[in-house]
Amino acid sequence: MKPVEISKSNEKIKQKKSLIRDYIIMGAVIVATAVALLIFTDKSGPVLSVSKNYFLELIMILPAVMIIIGLFSVWIPKEMVVKYMGKTSGTKGIFLSIALGMLPTGPLYIAFPMAIALLKKGAKISNIIIFISAWACIKLPQELVEIQFLGIEFTLLRLALTIIFVVIMGIIIEKIIDFTDKKKIKVEERV
């Protein structure tokens, strides 16, 4: 367990550094904006009013989305996802992979090691691909923001299509991996 803990504290320092860096960049962007708007005074009206509108629209929804992320990560821990994913198979496995991937459990880089652990435990490649893809592109709290900005019709259609194609992709990639692995074995046999 020790190496994991060390890499975790390293990760924390790294995160803090990137947080400070992000705020410095934000400050620089704000200063640059102020200068640019002072030069192009005729444009400052439209630019500021557009930014203000988008800011208001975001700030009405973001705290709620953040709290949902927090509640999810506390009430549905990562371990639970691993537990259920390990048992996946068949159509049920596909649905479970999507459902578990949709939960806001953290950024994509957490999903990769989880996926590998699951693969070693015997989960199917197709389910792993579906799980990672769902994790990457269908996050429940994010979808609320998508509905807010792009409308419910756009959001639902995009989600439905994404789910369909993610499943197709999972199955195709599994077939390709199986095929190439078999070929490799045959070549090895011949040698």
Partner: protein, 166 residues
């Protein structure tokens, strides 16, 4: 009043859901609730600078770029090339999905086509050029390349279908 409720329906519904859930969470376990609020605050602080930068970017995009330029590059007239441009942009950029939606909405308002916007959002979340080294390290070269290539192609197909339907 009715007009207000109509235009802010999503906002109202989401905030109500959160309120109810938060109350249930407090009733069930105070410590866990406190922890989840801490995570919420941390996530907010982490995303805040990106939000401000993107919002300023949107302001400049709509304030400076005339709509006909946006629609010429990624609008209906740009056709398939426009979709390709936004799909590549979405693959290369590393913008949190959360913030990509207002950005996408602003592009749509500025004259981009539904197909381009759909391609942008889908590749932004599914294809990760920036996270590629990490993915290769964890998942192996073959699986990573297959996943990203297929995601890119399917993102374009999804975008085309959406353009036909919407």
């Amino acid at each position: 009043m009715l007009e207000f409720i109509k235009s802010y329906l999503t906002v109202i519904v989401i905030n109500l859901i959160v309120l109810v859930w938060l109350i249930l969470s407090v009733v069930k376990n105070k410590n866990k609730t406190r922890e989840s609020l801490k995570i919420a605050l941390k996530t907010f602080l982490k995303t805040f600078p990106v939000i401000i930068i993107i919002i300023i970017f949107i302001g400049f995009l709509l304030g400076f770029l005339p709509p006909d330029i946006i629609s010429r590059v990624v609008g209906e007239q740009a056709g398939f090339l426009g979709i390709l441009v936004t799909a590549v942009l979405g693959s290369v950029l590393f913008v949190p999905a959360l913030i990509s939606f207002p950005l996408a909405a602003s592009l749509l308002k500025g004259g981009a086509s539904i197909m381009s916007v759909a391609a942008f959002i889908t590749t932004l979340t599914m294809v990760g050029i920036v996270t590629l080294p990490l993915e290769i390290k964890e998942m192996g070269k073959k699986l990573t390349i297959l996943r990203n290539v297929f995601s890119f192609v399917f993102a374009i197909i999804i975008a085309l279908i959406m353009g036909v339907i919407l």
